[in-house]
C-alpha cells in the first residue's frame, strides 16, 4: 500500500559546510542519513526523521538545519496536519497510535498565568547568599498534635512520629522504569538523587541489583504488574509507592513490548526474556478505598512499619474526593500526576484527551484535604509538567509539599522531547535498551547534569523565597496569598484559590 504520510521534518544540509565526516550517519538510529561514497554526498531520508536534533547538535560544522515541514493542506482549522497524518497512519496500519512524553496539546498552562509576590518597602526581603534559607522538606504523615513531656527541665517528645522522607530540596525524580529508560539513565538518576539528598523513583520496572546501594534515595514502586516486587526490593527502598495511575494514561495499564525485555530487564522485572510485560489497568486486589487500605497496610506490614507509603494517581475529575479516600486509607504521601505528565509509551488519544491539568488538581486536592482537616495526615507531591523553578515554587505555594520531575530530568540529560520514546531508538541514549545507543549517556555526565540543574533551581527558589521575605520553604507551603492570577476567569481563580493580579 502506498503510504500517504508526508515527512514531518525537512532536513537542510549546507553542502559548503559539510565535511562528510558522517557523524550524522552514525548518530541517527532512525537511519535518516546515508553517505554515498561514489558521489561523495550525504543524503537524508526525511520520512524517517523524528526531529530529535541529535545530528544537528553533534554536527561539527553546523551544516544541518532540521525544521518542520511547512507543507500544509489548504487552510483548515479543523483538519490540522497532525490529525490528517494520524488518520493516514491508522488507515495504513489499523493500529492504536502510540506516542511518548507528556501531552503536547494546547490546554491552558496555569503556571504561565500565575505570578509570585515580592517584598517592597513594608517588609524586608532576604538575601539567601548572606542569610540562612531553608529548603529542607519532610514527606510523610504529620501528627494531629504533639505531646511533649517535661522532666527535670528536659523536654521530650511523647508522640510517636511516623516515618518521614527527608529532602534537602523539595524536588524528587519521578517514576520512570528501567525498560522505559536505559540502565545508564537509571544510574544517573540514582546517583544524582544521592548527591542532592533527595529521591528518585524506580517506576514499575523493578530495581537493578547494582542500584541497591542507592536504596536510601530510592522510592520503589508497586504497580499492578508487580514486576520485580519481592522482599529485598521492598526492604531496600526508602519509601514505597503504589502506582494506581499515571497522568499520561489515566485509567489504562501498560504494555512493555517483548522486544524491549532484554536479559537485564528480564532479571530486574523478574519475568522471562522476550515476553510482553503487561500491567493490568487496575490492581486486581484493589477495587475500592478499603482494598487500597489493605495494600497500603500490607506493604507497611511487609516492611515492619519503617517506611512511608505513597499512592500515586492520575489527576482526574474527581481527584479531590479520591485523594481524601487515599489519605483516609492510610497513605503517607499522595502523588498527583497531571495531564502533561510524561510516559515512555501511551496511546496518543489517551495521553492527549484524558485527565486534567495538575495545577487545578493540586489546588482542589489541597483545598479538600484542608476542609476535611486531614491535610497533615499526608504530604502531597505533584508531577506532570514542571519545567523550571518558577513552576516548582508556584506548586508549593498552591499547596504541594514537593514536586516530581520526570521530563525535566530527562531534558537535563539531553532529551529533546521528540516524543518517540516508544520506538526504543532514542538517539540521546535515554529511552532505549540498545547498548550502542545507551552508552551515549555517560552516567558520570548524566549525574553531573542533573545535579547542576537541580542546584540551579534550588538557588532560584531560595532567591524567590527571599524576595518574598520568607526564609523557609515551609512558610510558603499552601500560602496562596503570595500568588496572583493573570488572565484567568473567575471560575479558574476560585478553583486555584487565588486572587487576580491587581486585587
Amino acid at each position: 500500500m502506498k503510504s500517504y504520510l508526508l515527512p514531518e521534518f525537512i532536513i537542510e544540509r549546507n553542502d559548503y559546510r559539510c565535511i562528510r565526516c558522517e557523524v550524522c550517519v552514525r548518530q541517527c538510529a532512525f537511519e535518516v542519513h546515508r553517505y554515498d561514497e561514489e558521489e561523495d554526498e550525504v543524503f537524508a531520508d526525511e520520512s524517517k526523521c523524528v526531529g530529535c536534533l541529535r545530528c544537528v547538535t553533534l554536527c561539527p560544522t553546523n551544516a544541518l538545519v532540521v525544521r518542520e515541514n511547512p507543507t500544509r493542506i489548504p487552510q483548515n482549522y479543523n483538519w490540522t496536519m497532525d490529525y490528517l497524518m494520524d488518520a493516514y497512519k491508522q488507515a495504513e496500519t489499523g493500529g492504536v497510535l502510540l506516542t511518548g512524553m507528556g501531552c503536547d496539546r494546547g490546554y491552558p498552562i496555569y503556571w504561565d498565568h500565575i505570578v509570585l509576590d515580592a517584598s517592597q518597602v513594608t517588609n524586608p526581603s532576604i538575601d539567601p547568599l548572606r542569610e540562612p534559607m531553608e529548603l529542607r522538606t519532610y514527606l510523610g504523615a504529620k501528627p494531629d498534635q504533639l505531646e511533649i513531656k517535661s522532666h527535670k527541665g528536659k523536654a521530650s517528645l511523647e508522640t510517636r512520629l511516623t516515618p518521614q522522607l527527608k529532602l534537602e530540596t523539595p524536588i524528587l525524580f519521578s517514576a520512570i522504569s528501567y525498560g522505559a529508560i536505559s540502565y545508564n539513565t537509571c544510574e544517573s538518576l540514582a546517583r544524582a538523587a544521592h548527591e542532592l539528598g533527595t529521591y528518585y523513583n524506580t517506576g514499575e520496572g523493578g530495581l537493578h541489583k547494582n542500584l541497591y546501594k542507592y536504596g536510601k534515595n530510592t522510592i520503589c514502586q508497586v504497580a499492578s504488574g508487580r514486576f520485580g516486587v519481592h522482599a529485598d526490593y521492598l526492604e531496600v527502598a526508602a519509601a514505597l509507592e503504589i502506582k494506581i495511575g499515571q497522568g499520561a494514561k489515566p485509567g489504562i495499564g501498560g504494555h512493555l513490548p517483548g522486544e524491549k525485555v532484554t536479559a537485564e530487564i528480564s532479571r530486574t522485572r523478574m519475568i522471562p526474556k522476550g515476553t510482553d510485560a503487561l500491567s493490568p489497568a487496575p490492581h486486581h486486589d484493589i477495587y475500592s478505598i478499603e482494598d487500597l487500605a489493605q495494600l497500603i497496610y500490607a506493604l507497611k506490614e511487609a516492611t515492619h512499619w519503617e517506611k512511608p507509603v505513597s499512592v500515586k494517581i492520575a489527576a482526574v475529575h474527581n481527584s479531590a474526593a479520591i485523594a481524601s479516600g487515599i489519605v483516609r486509607a492510610g497513605a503517607d504521601i499522595v502523588a498527583l500526576d497531571g495531564i502533561r505528565g510524561g510516559t515512555g509509551a501511551a496511546p496518543t488519544r489517551i495521553r492527549d484527551n484524558v485527565g486534567i491539568p495538575i495545577e487545578l488538581a493540586l489546588a482542589s486536592v489541597d483545598t479538600r484535604l484542608r476542609e476535611e482537616g486531614i491535610r497533615n495526615r499526608a504530604s502531597i507531591v505533584i508531577a506532570g509538567g514542571i519545567r523550571n523553578s518558577g513552576d516548582v515554587i508556584k506548586a508549593i505555594a498552591l499547596g504541594a509539599d514537593a514536586v516530581y520531575l520526570g521530563t525535566a530530568a530527562l531534558v537535563a540529560m539531553g532529551c529533546h522531547v521528540c516524543q518517540k520514546c516508544y520506538t526504543g531508538k532514542c538517539n540521546w541514549g535515554i529511552a532505549t535498551q540498545d547498548p550502542y545507543l545507551s552508552k551515549r549517556l555517560n552516567p558520570d555526565i548524566g549525574t553531573r547534569r542533573l545535579v547542576n540543574m537541580i542546584n540551579g533551581w534550588s538557588h532560584e527558589i531560595k532567591e524567590m523565597l527571599g524576595g518574598m521575605g520568607i526564609n523557609a520553604i515551609e512558610s510558603l507551603r499552601g500560602n496562596r496569598l503570595r500568588l496572583r492570577g493573570v488572565g484567568l476567569n473567575q471560575k479558574e481563580l476560585d478553583i486555584l484559590g487565588i486572587r487576580h493580579a491587581g486585587e
Binding site: 499492578s224 516486587v229 519481592h230 510482553d276 500490607a298 506490614e301 496511546p347
Partner: protein, 265 residues
C-alpha cells in the same frame, strides 16, 4: 514506628519451648500478632502454632525465615502477602488474597479460599483443599528458578489465570464428585501469555478467554501433574493414581506477545 510487643511477655498469649512457640491470637490486633510472629522467627523459633485466629490479616508477610506456621481459626485477607520463605498451614478456610505477590514458601488451606488467590505470585506453592473465588492466579508469573504452583482441589469462579504470565495452575474439581468434570468458570485465561493451566475434566471453548487454547498433554505435562497431585494428596489425602487416571485439559497461551500487533508504529 514499631508496635509494642508487651503482650508477648504474657505466657497465656505467647509461650515458647525451645524452637517451638504457641500464640493465642484471641485479642490480638494483626499488627501485634504479626510483630510477634516476626520477632519469634528472628529469635530462632522454627515452628509456631497460632490459635484463635479471627480474621487477622497479612500473616506471614515480611517474615524472611523458613518457619513453619500452623494457623487454627480463619486468617484474614492477604495471608502470606509478599511472603518469602515460610510454610503456612491453615486448618480452616482462608479469605481473599492468599499468597498475594508471594515469592517463595508454601501455603496450605484446609478448606476454601476467597478471591484473587495467588495474585502476581512469582514462586512457591499454594494448595487449597476445596474451591476458590474469582480471579485466581491472576497475573501469576515465573522467572528462572521461580515457578509458582497453585493447586485447587475444587473449582474456581470466573477469570481464572487472567493475564497469567507463567507458573502452573491445577484445578482438580474433586468437589464436583463425578469422575468427568465440566468446568463452568468463564473468561478463563483472558490475556494469558505464559504458564499452564491444567483442568481435570473438560471445559467449553466459550468459557475460555481470548488468546488461550486447549493443547494436548505430553509426558512433561504428566510429570508436572503427578508432582502437583502427589503434593495435594500428601496434605489432604486421596488417591493420586486415581485422580491422575482422569482426563485432563491443558490450557496454554497462544502467544507470549498477546498485544504485539495492537499498535501503529
Amino acid at each position: 514506628m514499631k508496635i509494642d510487643l508487651e503482650k508477648k511477655g504474657d505466657p497465656r498469649v505467647f509461650a515458647r519451648i525451645n524452637d517451638k512457640a504457641r500464640i493465642d491470637a484471641s485479642n490480638l490486633h494483626y499488627r501485634e500478632l504479626n510483630a510477634m510472629v516476626k520477632e519469634a522467627a528472628s529469635e530462632g523459633v522454627k515452628t509456631m502454632e497460632i490459635h484463635n485466629v479471627f480474621g487477622q490479616r497479612y500473616i506471614g508477610s515480611g517474615v524472611r525465615q523458613p518457619v513453619h506456621i500452623d494457623i487454627y481459626g480463619v486468617p484474614g485477607n492477604d495471608l502470606g502477602a509478599f511472603m518469602d520463605g515460610p510454610t503456612i498451614i491453615t486448618h480452616r478456610n482462608a479469605q481473599d488474597g492468599v499468597g498475594n505477590t508471594m515469592n517463595s514458601g508454601t501455603i496450605v488451606v484446609n478448606g476454601r479460599a476467597g478471591d484473587i488467590v495467588a495474585m502476581g505470585m512469582r514462586g512457591g506453592q499454594i494448595f487449597i483443599r476445596e474451591s476458590v473465588g474469582y480471579r485466581a492466579a491472576i497475573h501469576m508469573k515465573e522467572y528462572f528458578k521461580h515457578k509458582p504452583v497453585l493447586i485447587i482441589g475444587g473449582t474456581t469462579q470466573d477469570f481464572l489465570g487472567e493475564y497469567m504470565a507463567g507458573g502452573v495452575v491445577v484445578v482438580l474439581g474433586l468437589t464436583k464428585g463425578e469422575k468427568e468434570v465440566k468446568h463452568q468458570a468463564r473468561h478463563i485465561g483472558t490475556g494469558m501469555h505464559g504458564g499452564a493451566i491444567y483442568l481435570r475434566g473438560e471445559v467449553d471453548d466459550r468459557n475460555l478467554g481470548k488468546g488461550v487454547s486447549k493443547v494436548p498433554l505430553d509426558e512433561k505435562d504428566r510429570d508436572v501433574l503427578r508432582d502437583c497431585v502427589e503434593g495435594y494428596v500428601s496434605y489432604f489425602g486421596g488417591d493420586a493414581d486415581e485422580i491422575l487416571s482422569s482426563h485432563f485439559t491443558k490450557l496454554a497461551a497462544l502467544s507470549h506477545r498477546p498485544y504485539g500487533g495492537l499498535y501503529a508504529y
